[in-house]
């Protein structure tokens, strides 16, 4: 995942925002604790959702305590005392980063190839540990990567088929360790989140991919004129809305023990805002103004 899944701050309660940041900081700590300071560079808000969901569905509550951040000692952040959820998500971060680096080594431009080659030895080492500690995640992600490679060479690929491997991987990772109805709901939320991110990422990269001749599920779409770009944006928006509506339905199916507002915020406002930011470049919405008008 690539930074698309994050909360929308203006609509959050301060308390929720503090907790959300706390989850983020706790994940950062887990990466440092289990791996290395280098691993902390791969931290993103995407996996904070995975942490929040797992915490929300867990039987027991959790305690946050204020601790200093080693990178910004002036600031204190909330750190969750229990560690297992964050360790689990830290393994997931490392495993996804590893496959992302391999992907970059294979088919991106020179700069990203170089960067990937530089971090590869360290990431490979960390991945070895992660795969040992979390074999289930490793299996889910590696199967998805293999399936993705097989899918991409198919002629006449539907968007559903193209998005399926990564969505399924996230569904498995989100639901690991849960049973029954909770598992079903978490898996559905994971699937829809993964699908949303895949579609949005594909739309985001379409111009570059067309230039470089790289694979993109939307490569058949016409985005040459202003008019056709608008039509394309509208089409993608429809797909994203449909996906988001099911994600929200699945959230309502989940027996949420805590953090409902945070998850609702991420899945409703967070995803929508991200989608609008990306689709704005296809020019069907006005540029964001720097002024506020209050009526």
């Amino acid at each position: 995942m690539l930074g698309y899944v994050r909360a929308y701050k203006p609509d959050m309660k301060m308390r929720d925002y503090e907790l959300y940041k706390g989850v983020y900081c706790s994940l950062c700590r887990a990466l440092g604790r289990n791996y290395s300071p280098l691993a902390q560079l791969f931290l993103s808000y995407d996996f904070a959702l995975a942490c929040v969901l797992r915490l929300a569905a867990a039987e027991n509550g959790c305690t946050f305590s204020k601790k200093r951040c080693p990178y910004n000692p002036a600031k204190k952040c909330m750190i969750c005392v229990s560690k297992d959820v964050f360790d689990f998500c830290a393994h997931a971060v490392i495993i996804t980063v590893y496959y992302k680096v391999i992907d970059n080594l294979r088919d991106k431009g020179f700069i990203s190839k170089l960067a990937a080659a530089l971090v590869f030895p360290a990431v490979a080492l960390m991945h070895k540990k992660a795969a040992r500690l979390a074999p289930d995640i490793e299996k889910a992600v590696s199967v998805a990567m293999k399936l993705q490679a097989e899918t991409e060479v198919k002629p006449s690929l539907s968007i559903d088929e193209a998005a399926h491997p990564s969505a399924q991987a996230l569904a498995t990772v989100f639901a690991l360790g849960f049973e029954g109805k909770t598992k079903e709901a978490l898996s559905k939320i994971g699937y829809m989140t993964g699908r949303f991110v895949y579609i949005l990422d594909a739309a985001d990269d379409l111009e570059d991919d067309k230039k470089n001749g790289a694979f993109n599920p939307f490569s058949g779409e016409d985005i040459s004129s202003a008019e056709s770009r608008k039509i394309f944006a509208e089409k993608v928006r429809g797909m994203l809305n449909l996906t988001q509506s099911i994600a929200l339905e699945s959230l309502d199916m989940l027996e949420v023990k805590r953090f409902y507002d945070i998850m609702d915020n991420i899945l409703l406002e967070g995803l929508s805002n991200c989608a609008e930011r990306v689709l704005a470049k296809y020019g069907d919405k006005a540029e964001k103004s720097k002024e506020y008008t209050v009526e």
């Binding site: 539907s158 968007i159 088929e161 797909m239 809305n241 449909l242 949420v256 805590r258 507002d261 929508s272």
Partner: protein
């Protein structure tokens, strides 16, 4: 999916006339309500009604069609119990020239449950095009159209806070204490211990 008789509020195995009457009352209640909740309810009612009528259908339909209906009833039951792979195999086994509106609807339902939403939407569209008079198909497709336009978002925003932790109990206690204080000002007492 819930038991269709339960959805319509009639006893299990009730005669078709009673089912029809119950359906009519419920449909009148929900069909003109534009809210998302009512639409979903309506869809559930339609699906329940269709499944009961479909199961009872063999009696008065000609034999060829009844065979198809039984197949579909079996597939629908498999979908309900979550056996999507089995349902998909059965559906794909029906040759292309025999595929009717109901086939596309069931196929759409399987795809929807799998999360293949775009393909599902196309199947729902085909189903409602082939049989425009069927409410279940129309509802399924309308739901897709509504979701695509982002209609669910407005509705959800209007409901925010409904499941957040601040429940009414605290407010209720505060109100009681205030009422007690007021009573005490006037010389009375509502809560004797404070």
């Amino acid at each position: 999916m819930r038991n269709p008789y339960e959805v319509l509020g009639v006893p299990e195995g009730a005669p078709l006339d009673q089912v029809k009457a119950a359906y009519k009352i419920l449909a009148q209640k929900y069909q003109n309500d534009p809210s998302f909740e009512a639409q979903r309810k309506m869809e559930e009612i339609n699906a329940a009604y269709d499944s009961i009528v479909m199961n009872a259908g063999g009696a008065y339909k000609n034999s060829g069609y009844a065979q198809g209906a039984n197949d579909y009833a079996d597939i629908a039951a498999k979908i309900r119990s979550g056996r999507l792979d089995d349902a998909q195999i059965l559906l794909d086994g029906i040759p292309e020239h025999q595929r009717d509106a109901q086939w596309y609807y069931l196929k759409g339902t399987v795809l929807q449950k799998r999360g293949w939403l775009e393909d599902a939407a196309n199947n729902f569209a085909t189903a409602s095009r082939l049989d425009p008079s069927n409410n279940t198909y129309k509802m399924a497709y309308n739901r897709v159209i509504n979701a695509r336009s982002g209609g669910y978002r407005t509705e959800r925003r209007a409901q925010t806070g409904r499941r957040s932790g601040d429940c009414g109990y605290l407010d209720c206690c505060c109100n009681l204490l205030c009422a007690d204080a007021c009573c005490e000002c006037m010389g009375g007492d509502l809560i004797s211990c404070c």
